[in-house]
Every structure is written in C-alpha cells, then in structure tokens.
Amino acid sequence: METSTCSKKIVQLRSSDGQLFEVDEEAAMSSEILKNMIEMGMPSPLPLYEVDATTLAMIVESWNRRLQEKRGEITEAELERWEEEELLKSKEPDGDAICVLLAANYLEDEHLIDRAGEAIAHHIKDMTVEEVRDYFEIENDFEREEEEKVFQQNAWAFH
C-alpha cells in the first residue's frame, strides 16, 4: 500500500469507558496490538478494554506528534520536550506517567513504554520511601519488625 503524505486512512478506537477517537491509521500503528487488529481487518471501532478516555486522548496525541516528527514537521528535540513536559510531567500520585505506562504496556507501544519508564524512574529518583508509596498509591503492609529488617537490609544503598 502506497503511503503518500496525503494518506488519510482513519481508524476508530473506543476507550474502555465508551468514548470514540479517530486516529490516523499510520499513527495507530505505533501500537503493536492495534497494528495486528488493523492487519487482521477487525471492524471499527477497535475496542481498547483497558485504556480510559483521558489516557487514550494523551496517547493519541503522542502518536500524532510522533507521526509529525517522522514526517519532518517537528524536530526530534521538540517531540522529546513535549513528551517530557506535557505527557509525563506529573509527579502527583497516580500521575500521568503511570497511566501512560500501563496503557502503553497494554497497547504494546515500545517507544512509549520506554519514555514512561524513564519518566517514572526520574520522578522517584529523589523520593523517600513514603513518597514512593504515595506516588504509586500502595499500602505499607509490613509488620513493624519486618519493616525494620527490610530497612536494615537495604541500608547499604543509601550511604
């Protein structure tokens, strides 16, 4: 199939909460899952059972930007800056980077998994253990004694 710069093949996606999105087919191919669905000729709208509308909106925009970069409409540096500052910036609990990582993992989008993984690593780099718990919204389920043991065993990493 010929890909011209005027390629207008659109594909419809449906988020887990029922919202519909229209995406350039070429952009959607960033996701292995969608690529397979498209190549298998699955009917639109393609259902994404584990990605909600908010997250899907962000991801679709990231795909569009990657397509722009591929076509030379924006530079790689501009793409990276957008990803860092807009897509993955939030350090709030249950923030963007985590949502994007989960969705990218489901969608099998290697590039986005990498970016989100790096962003999360960067976010938690200088956090305390308590802050990491808040960030990931996880409960401390250690008994007091066990917790002391765990802290002691890992003390070597904090000299």
């Binding site: 409960e139 401390n140 250690f142």
Partner: protein, 264 residues
Amino acid sequence: MDASPFLLIAAGATAICCFCALWALRLGPGSFFRKPSPLIKSPTKLCGCSCSCADEEVAADGEEMAAEVERQGAAAGSSMMEQLVPEITTHALSYLDYTSLCRLSMTNSAMRRAANDDGAWKALYHKDFTVEQDSINPSNGWKAYYASTKAIISLNAEFYNIIRERGILLFPFHRYNAVMDSWFLAFNWGQGGGQGLAFHIRDVRARVLSEMAWVTMKAYVDVDSGPFHVTNVYEFHNGRWYMVHHHSSVILMNGDPGMLNFFG
C-alpha cells in the same frame, strides 16, 4: 638527583606495595576503612540481604513471581501500581538505579518481591559494573552480589581518595620510616607538606567471593607517565574488609624491558 622520572615512579610503586602490606596489619580505632554497613557485618554471610532473599524466595523465574504477585494484588485490592506489578518485567525495572530499586523494595511486600527480582539485579550489575562476569552464579543472588561489589569498589576508591587528598602524613607508622622516606623521595614531598598524589583509577573490576575479593584497575599518576596495572586483594574478617595485598606493575610503553627489571 638525576634519576629518570620513570625510575622514581617505579620506586614509588614499590613503596606503595610495601606500605600497603604494612597497612593491612593495622587494626583498631583510627583505621579509616569505612564503617561496615549492617549488610556486611556478619562474618558468615556476605550480607543480611542474603538471608531474606533466601527466605522470601527471590524468584529466578519471573513468571512464577509475577503470578504470585498477581494473586496478592487481586486479594489486596488494586491501586494502579498493584495492577502494574504483574506487568513489571525486568525490562521495566531496568530504568531504575540501585537506590530506587531498593527504595521500591521497601514500600510493601508485593513491591519487595518485584524489586528483588534476580534478573533485574543481574541486568543492573551488568550496566553499572561489567558484563565480563556473565557466567558466574552468585550463591546469594544478584542483589547481594551487587551490594558487596559496590562495597568493595567504594572501599577501593576511598583508599585512593585518601592518598590523593591527604598524602602520607595520615599514617603515623613511626617504625617504618624507611618506607616513608622512600615514598617522600619518590614523589618529591617536603617534610611537613602532605601534598596528595593525583591518582586516577580507571577500568575498575571487582570479583567478590564470600570472604575474599579482588579488584583490578589501571592507575594513572600523572600525565607524563603511563598507567600502572594494579591489583588489590581484600579479605573479610570480623565484619570488615581489609586490604591484604597490593600489586602494581608498569605497563610497557615503549617495549623496553630494561627499566622494568630494576624492581623485578
């Protein structure tokens, strides 16, 4: 003095060798080998982590671990992260540095299993240290091996930092003036001036066994001379690491064996 710089440096190397051998005998307060972390305290195990790693069955098989964690997560009710945990592969964990990985393992029991994953620590070891030891299988798991390697390399670096910054006057070995004198001579230090040596060490490699470790590296003294090959051997006694052997030899620069043989 008409001696060539080469000779002086070789003399210095010998002085260092003698000095380090003497240094190894020194025990007691004032020794500035680092305070051992609680991890290294036990003389029988390499680190406290090894006990728990064994007890908590750090899974070499990621899938088995993931399944176990998923059961846990489902029971506990799912935050985003607990959804993520079954999905965490060595790949995803690979973005974290050792501090973050440890911190993650301290958050809760599910995270501890995930973040203590043997494969993740093996990958981190390869990233931070070397891939040259690909075939070894550390008996206490890769996290413990990473921890002990880091400890040895830090200790080794600190030895050179001290020489670099404070010079020889820190070590009051009154009985060993001959060694001190030759050191001063070799590096042109005046009395009362403890100017440090600009050692730079590169290509540091460590191999750590339960009670012994060795570190090899290249040491560069100054711009004009070539690097030394250096090997330091450490032994673990009473909860601390001690340097018990030091060897350095000049790397042949011009293929002239004559000068090298002066000190054998």
